[in-house]
Amino acid sequence: MIRDRANTLDPITVEVVRNKLDGIANEMQSTLFRSSFSPIVKEGLDASASLFTIEGETLAQAIAIPIHLATLIPVVRTFLREFPPATMAEGDVYVMNDPYLGGTHLPDIALVMPVFHDGAPIALTAAMTHHQDVGGMAPGSVPTNATEIYQEGIRIPPLKFHDRGMPNDTLMKLLRLNVRVPDSFIGDLNAQVAACSAGARRLRELATKHGSTALRAIFANLLDRSEEMTRQAIAMIPDGTYRYHDFLDNDGIDLDTPIRIEVAVTVDGEAVRVDFAGTSGQVRGPFNCVPSGAHAAVYFAVHALTDPDIPTNGGCFRPISVTTPEGSLVNPVEPAPVNARTATIKRIAGCVIGALRAAIPGRAPADAAGEMLLLAFGGPRPDGSRYVVGELIASGSGASDGKDGVDVIETDGTNCMNLPIEALEMDAPIRVLRTELRAGSGGAGQWRGGLGLSREYQVLHGDVVLTHRGERHVHPARGVLGGGPGALAVSRIHRMGGAVEEIKSKTVTRLGPGDRLEIHTAGGGGYGDPATRDPEQVERDQADRKIGTSAAAE
């Protein structure tokens, strides 16, 4: 049936339109980046732009950060329920952020605009931005010690941001009063409107050129094609149910209780089902993750293991279904807090890859450390001004058949840049004493796991508040087929007086002048029997001091 429909369309026009849709999504995203105020968008590229069919399926997406893959789908579904196409009007823009109605976490605000041609809505453009602040108990709206969503910021249900081109002043006034930097908050929302409008303009041009009926037929064809390619790729995976589990260290509140994530991935012909039964119940701290995040992680992992060259659109997601038990970490009941869910999404992606490893042993890597250590220092400069510097520090990736893991690299759906040492020292009275690859931290194997990073900071001035949000301090990234685990993450504070304090993965504490913070991020798992490693590789690793005695952590 799919092939029949394809044959009635000119394949060249279909390919040209596909390229144009990608181009439109990229143009929307660059509009978003160029016109946003939030440094999280400008530096961390934490924003994404998408095109949807009027039925709510993803047509094209510009993804700076892979975990945004598919996260807008439940948002769009909610909007379509609240504002069915028959009620949509030209100039409408819809807004929402509530995780419990389809959002992700409160700083991510989604805007959606219907695109009209010949008086009827033919598609939707959508933009999601991580806003600098949406209110709540802490500046930045990502409090690691939140225990309720109310502490995390303002919740926005699906509402009209513009109604037939008229801004919703009532909503605007309400929002302004609930956030810490209202001008840049509104500025960022306007940047999102600009991105949606740019996309809508280009889609209208396409509809004028091809006619909206033909264009919608092309949309359907593109979705069918990606679905078929994904189904063919899934069909190559042997049928069966594959299980895996892994742990997050703790929820930032109960520091001695690990959080279990369990997946059963069932490959059934051309379809994949992922069931999260066995996963921990929702937690008190903000590591809960609403189902959209679990979906994003699953799509990312399946896409990574099938054929990454398949054009990404809603068709890729059709063969995949996800079950999340209510009241669990991955389907929490409100008002559970959710702001720190990125760590959870990363670990879910790792678990799905881990499960499918049993099905396609040669193609999936060993566990990645998947640790994105978040450090934030806040304190005074000698001239009296105050600073806050944040750092995201990567860890080692898992080894795979024929390839050592990558040292100190972003994996599992995030992709942020580190902060140069010279930039950090410019910004804050903090000195970096050393930065190294963490020798010996990669899991042993025929192919070695990627190494973590070792670094030592010294506070030079004033009373400093340190936030440390780590992972892999308790459960290592496991190796496969005889490969060893990656080293656990270790962090310590060396007080001026000589006392040494070990950090249990997450903490908010104070540092004084002369105090040193020593961090070692985790290594990735190894692949295959270490005894079979090529001696030349061992020699090279020794020469590069990637293995051998580590004076650092042990």
Binding site: R3, A6, N7, P11, I12, V14, E15, V16, R18, N19, K20, G23, N26, E27, S30, R34, S35, F37, P39, K42, E43, L45, A64, P66, A191, A194, R225, M229, H303, A304, P308, D383, I393, A394, K403, V406, D407, V408, I409, E410, N415, C416, M417, N418, P420, I421, E422, A423, E425, M426, R434, T435, E436, L437, L453, R540, A543, D544, R545, K546
Partner: protein, 686 residues
């Protein structure tokens, strides 16, 4: 140029070495020689000998010599740099290895493999020393330890050494002393100091530039040595200049020390050529597209000045020295068309290259390429280079039939049209990256299409992209060589001196600018640039506090005072607003890097004006050919480019053939020849 002066330019590319010789009394010769990738100096001298023979000009009549080279580019891209060691601050051995911890944005996140670094950790040694960001020495360098590690590198057989110490831009003493020690211990090795190569903050990018520079220095040095020998043999003693990535030229002596500045020498010359022919045509805002066999380079010129970036790339590595901002995509005339299992037609990224080349070359290439599609549609004549090269339409047709038409169930002509549609669509995507995605409107720019395949596709690209004018230079196939004759000596100097609002240290800024100007004047002294030909420009990199990216803003005038700094800050807000749609005038602004650009103005080529006819005189076709344009075959008039005179008008549909390329004028377009032989094509329809 004086009487009987001759300027010679050679651009050595992957396949051809393009040569232009021009005399001050209006004579101009061009030729091509085959490049010899194993020894590019052979292609260079084949080109020299060929043009001298062709013109009858003697070597002693050559008064200046310009050269664009891919020697440094290829050494970096193919990982053939010299065995390089590195000295770094104790505790920071792995800066290069760690990088920025991210997967490059345009890469496939799922399939990316971290490229190996130009220097592996085993060749990186640590030296006890530490300088702080204000230049204070926190830990004095241990010279004995430095000597010990220098000897270790010697034992490891390195040919070049890079020295990168933290914050050396603020105080280079340790790096310089380490350089002295290295020269004593390894007298044969090339030494590269980060305070010379890129004295600005961000240790990874500085390390990379210095390591790459060290690695290509010996290779560039040997290459320039061979050129010097060959030139001496021919008694060709003219001053000799090498193209840099920033669009200027420098002397071979500088090229030997600052080899990294040659990383994108070739494409930069093309952009320079486009801005030159644009200026002759009175066009200052241009998007350029240089479409070759395997790749296409796109860039932007505003007010006659090519856009420059400090966040460039060479292959997988960041390149933070100022370079012309060029966006490259892997598609060109040799890109292969194929049909996926799901029935989608795709073009590229695979390429048939020069060998076996497109199917129609008859050199064993089976798969159809963009060139084959152009041939089947009659847009390319079956004879190229005055008959030196014969193309076989039957082979092209067979390839398109087998690999595209039959799998899709369509006829060969529709398949060929489809191939062109898709490749043009990809090209328009690249044109948008440098314009629309930067907030610029294509209607404000002319498109300049060159390279072997550019003029064939320019007409459709201009329409799809939405520009109003298309410029096809007189010599589209050798515009890079022409660009070499339109450059200046150009040096960039920079230093990081962070200044936080509101406590800008004006005395420190003035002193830093003075120091940079001394360096700049010294460089121009070395080149013997007369004072009336010197231009010194000052600029600074600014950002809002907490931003991770700086914007470069020019500083007019000489002095630094509260007034000039206030104007600088205001100019920054304005530029930020233009680039990013907003300015935050209440936010504190940081001044991060200070920059000096030093120009030694050189004589430019005086491109001879061609004969004129009254404006709008219809040109006379030399014949007709069956060409497929806009859905149908028609007998289309063919014009010879060399017969066109200034003022001649051609109405589309038409084909203009010349030695190395073909220009397609679409129905509804009109081409006017300008005074220097460029075709300016506009749409008469809209």
């Amino acid at each position: 140029m004086g009487m009987n002066d001759h300027a010679l330019a050679l651009d050595v590319g992957g396949t051809f070495t393009d040569v232009i010789l021009v005399s001050n009394d209006g004579d101009l010769w061009t030729t091509k020689a085959s490049s010899v990738p194993a020894d590019p100096s052979r292609g260079f001298f084949d080109g020299v000998d060929k043009i001298l023979g062709l013109s009858g000009v003697t070597a002693d009549a050559i008064t200046s010599l310009f050269h664009g080279s891919t020697v440094a580019t290829n050494a970096i891209l193919e990982g053939r740099g010299a065995r390089t060691g590195m000295l770094v601050t104790d505790g920071f051995k792995y800066v290069l290895e760690i990088g920025r911890a991210e997967v490059p944005r345009r890469e496939n996140l799922f399939a990316w493999v971290k490229p190996s670094r130009p220097v592996p950790p085993r060749l990186i040694v640590e030296v006890p020393e530490r300088v702080l960001l204000d230049g204070t020495v926190e830990r004095v360098m241990d010279e004995d330890a430095c000597r010990v590690v220098a000897r270790r590198l010697k034992a490891l057989g390195v040919e070049a050494v890079a020295v990168v110490f933290l914050h050396s831009y603020a105080n280079p003493t340790h790096e310089r002393r380490a350089g002295d020690i290295l020269r004593e211990e390894l007298p044969e090795a090339e030494i590269s100091l980060s305070c010379d190569v890129l004295p600005v903050f961000r240790e990874y990018e500085r390390s990379m530039a210095t390591a790459l520079n060290a690695g290509v220095q010996p290779i560039v040095g040997r290459y320039i040595g061979r050129l010097r020998d060959g030139l001496a043999e021919r008694a060709l003693a003219a001053p000799f200049y090498v193209m840099k990535s920033n669009g200027g030229v420098f002397s071979p002596e500088q090229a030997e020390r600052q080899s990294i500045q040659m990383a994108l020498s070739g494409p930069a010359a093309g952009v320079r050529g486009a801005s030159y022919v644009g200026a002759l045509a009175g066009i200052e805002d241009i998007v350029t597209i240089d479409m070759g066999g395997t790749s296409t380079d796109v860039s932007l010129i505003r007010d006659g000045v090519p856009a420059v970036t400090k966040d460039g790339e060479i292959g997988p590595y960041p390149l933070s020295v100022p370079i012309i901002d060029i966006h490259t995509i892997g598609a060109g005339g040799g890109s292969i068309a194929s049909v996926t299992e799901q029935g989608a037609l795709i073009v590229g990224p695979r390429s048939a290259g020069a060998d076996p080349g497109p199917a129609c070359y008859g050199k064993g290439g089976e798969e159809p390429t963009v060139t084959d599609a152009n041939l089947v549609l009659g847009r390319v004549p079956p004879h190229l280079l005055d008959g030196e090269m014969v193309l076989d339409p039957a082979l092209a047709e067979a390839a398109i039939r087998r690999f595209v038409a039959e799998p899709l169930g369509i006829d060969v002509i529709s398949a060929a049209e489809g191939i062109l549609k898709i490749v043009n669509n990809n090209m328009v995507g690249a044109l948008k990256v440098v314009s629309v995605e930067k907030g610029l409107d294509p209607r404000d720019f002319a498109l300049c299409a060159f390279g072997g395949a550019g003029p064939m596709h320019g007409g459709e690209l201009a329409r799809q992209f939405g520009t109003r004018r298309l410029l096809i230079p007189c010599y589209p196939g050798i515009l890079c060589a022409l660009g070499l004759l339109a450059t200046d000596l150009q040096y960039d100097f920079a230093r990081t001196r962070i200044q936080r609002a509101p406590n800008y240290d004006l005395a420190d800024m003035a002193a830093t600018f003075q120091a940079l100007e001394r360096d700049a004047e010294a460089a121009l002294d070395t080149e013997g640039v007369a004072s009336e030909r010197r231009r010194i420009g000052r600029s600074a990199d600014l950002r809002y506090a907490k931003q991770g990216v700086e914007i470069t803003v020019e500083i007019p005038g000489d002095g630094i005072d509260t007034g000039s700094v206030a104007r600088l800050i205001e100019a920054f807000h304005d530029l930020h607003e233009r680039l990013y749609t907003f300015a935050d005038r209440d936010a504190p602004v940081e001044i991060v890097n200070l920059r000096i650009s030093a120009t030694g103005v050189m004589d430019k080529i005086d491109l001879p004006a061609i004969d004129t006819v009254p404006e709008g005189t219809p040109a006379a076709p030399s014949g007709r050919r069956r060409v497929h344009l806009e859905g149908a075959f028609a007998e289309v008039p063919i014009y010879r480019r060399e017969n066109l005179k200034a003022g001649h008008a051609i109405s589309g549909p038409a084909i203009v053939d010349q030695l190395d390329t073909t220009t397609v004028v679409l129905p509804g377009q009109t081409a006017i020849t300008d005074a220097y032989g460029s075709l300016v094509i506009t749409d008469t329809e809209a």
